[in-house]
Amino acid sequence: MAVDNDTVRRIAFLARLKVEQDKLEETKEEFNKILAWVEELGEVNTDNVEPLVSVNNETLTLRQDEVLSGHISEEILANAPAKEYGYFVVPKVVE
């Protein structure tokens, strides 16, 4: 499996990463190298093997339904580039 420049552009857009035109070729090569490396796994026979979801063999620990955090809006907003009236403020986003 190999990717082309369009795919690189699309993936960059989905990840909101800016890849300059002159970096496209290089990024594509890097992608393809990674994919080729992962493709080595294809040599292993995985017939009748369930996909592994997690390498941790742990079971999920559940939490009791208790309110333990909150009322820290100052800390929550501390790194916000813009805030007003206790809200995060961002450039208008309406679809």
Binding site: N56, L62, R63, S73, Y85
Partner: protein, 485 residues
């Protein structure tokens, strides 16, 4: 039910519709953090570092949300999956601080189920449930404070949601409306979601397509997101289906797209074309191992289940003598059903139901009150019905007594006693009034005897009036007939 067909000069069309409903889970804290789920608190006060998507924070699953989801699954007569997994659904939006939503994709907690809906013509139809999964809600964006900025409140970010997906089983707007009402009723009985569409705790996405009547093809569908009332869902289906028919009949094609329903114009407009459709790049959530439920856990929840509206309806018809329609109306709302059961205990259920659905509901409506705040208690409504059944008061006097009860909240027995409203069932007392009426109206007596028998009604009226409504009407009728011969 009567088929819903869109008929034009050019042909007949059938509507295909499926729903996706997001239901906020009732729990004290959020699904993956310990922040409160309280609605209406100050901005960004119910936000933990997990909800804000701070680096290094780990989600921990709230046991209660799992419990509520299993309970809901059982209420939808659905398969509970003992093995389920969480996934990340990736997209960027200002009210989604993590840049992804933790949801379930390939292995949801609840599988296929079904619920029966009641239609206006008295028939029922089964709507199949495709699946239900649990996930986190996003925050809230407010766009109307400033023309150039959006304001973000993360209090809702991380509140647990159940997303219920139906099969495309709806063939008419009415069916979708009946389904939403039924689902809301079940969720409220289970106390797993409050079902308030106007507050956004239950939100509906509607998928619509059409096909020539009689064919079994499936054509391109359009999705309308976040339609926020039962009425709007029905209107959205109607208008979107008509749009499809028009496009096809004019030789056009429908594109798969997300549209928005505008209730002011009763039409839909495009929100997002397919070429801009999200590519969510789901992958297994690395911070949460799979969720494994034990048989004991599921069995315990099964044991806790309350009687649901359908079962209650059947019991009310069978044991309390209600008509299926009355039972359906009374059972839709859990509080109403409980009130009715209390009022009807040891009495004629049908008579209690008549009072409940007649004067009682009218009174609540007029006073704009919820049944929980009714001035007339269930016990007192039951006692009023007793007073009528035992001939202590007539049905007409009962209406006056009920009005006093609605004002003062008093016990009807006390009111009847205090106001001296007891029905007169003493033959000699009624006869005395009849004699008086006869002696005062010799002309009418003569006319009656000459064959004008419909004067009987007038005589009854006079006697009742003289008795201030307290004479037993059946006895008045009988005694009058005897006297007048």
């Amino acid at each position: 039910m009567a088929e819903y067909i869109i008929e034009t000069e050019k042909g007949k069309w059938e509507v295909i519709c499926g729903l996706e409903i997001h239901c906020q889970i009732i729990s004290k804290s959020k699904i993956f953090s310990g922040a409160s789920t309280e609605f209406g608190d100050d901005v960004n006060e119910n936000v933990s570092f997990v909800d804000a998507g701070m680096p290094g924070m780990l989600p921990t699953l709230n046991m209660e949300c799992v419990h509520q989801a299993v309970k809901t699954g059982l209420g939808l007569n659905a398969v509970i999956n003992k093995y389920s997994e969480f996934s990340r659904k990736n997209y960027f939006y200002a009210d989604l601080p993590q840049g992804y939503q933790i949801t379930q994709f390939v292995h949801p907690i609840v599988g296929e189920g079904a619920i029966d809906i009641d239609l206006a013509d008295g028939t029922t139809k089964t709507i199949r449930i495709e699946r239900m999964h649990i996930e986190q809600d996003a925050g809230k964006s407010i766009h109307d404070i400033d023309p150039k900025k959006s304001f973000i409140d993360l209090n809702r970010a991380g509140v647990g949601l159940m997303e219920i997906v139906t099969k495309p089983d709806f063939r008419a707007p009415e069916e979708a409306g009946a389904f939403l009402r039924k689902l809301r009723s079940i969720l409220r009985y289970l106390e797993t979601c409050d079902g308030n569409m106007d507050e956004g705790s239950m939100r509906c996405d509607v998928n619509v397509s059409v096909r020539p009547y009689g064919s079994d093809e499936l054509r391109t569908r359009c999705e309308m997101k976040n339609v926020n009332s039962v009425k709007f869902v029905m209107q959205a289906i109607e208008s979107e289906a008509k749009r499809h028919v028009e496009v096809y009949e004019n030789g056009g094609e429908i594109c798969q797209e997300t549209r928005q329903f505008d209730p002011t114009t009763l039409s839909t407009k495009v929100m997002r074309k397919k070429e801009f459709a999200h590519d969510y790049r789901y992958f297994p959530e690395p911070d949460l191992p799979p969720l494994i439920l034990s048989d004991d856990f599921i069995a315990k929840i099964k044991n806790e289940l309350v009687e649901l509206p359908d079962a209650k309806k059947v019991r009310f018809v069978k044991d309390l003598g209600l008509t299926p329609y009355d039972a359906m109306v009374i059972c839709e709302n859990k509080e109403v059903a409980q009130f009715f059961e209390k009022a009807a205990a040891g009495r004629d259920g049908k008579k209690v139901a008549n009072w409940l659905m007649g004067d009682f509901f009218a009174m609540l409506n007029k006073k704009n009150l919820d049944i929980k705040n009714s001035p007339v208690s269930a016990e007192n409504l039951g006692k009023l019905v007793d007073l009528i059944s035992k001939d202590v008061i007539s049905g007409k006097i009962a209406k006056d007594v009920f009005e006093i009860m609605a004002e003062t909240g008093e016990n009807p027995e006390d009111i009847v006693e205090k106001k001296g409203l007891k029905q007169v069932t003493d033959t000699s007392a009624i006869e005395a009034i009849i004699d008086l009426v006869i002696s005062q109206n010799p002309d009418n007596v003569a006319s009656y005897k000459a064959g004008k028998v419909n004067l009987m009604g007038w005589f009854v009226g006079q006697v009742m009036k003289q008795s201030q409504g307290k004479a037993n009407p059946a006895m008045v009728n009988k005694l009058l007939k005897d006297k007048l011969g």
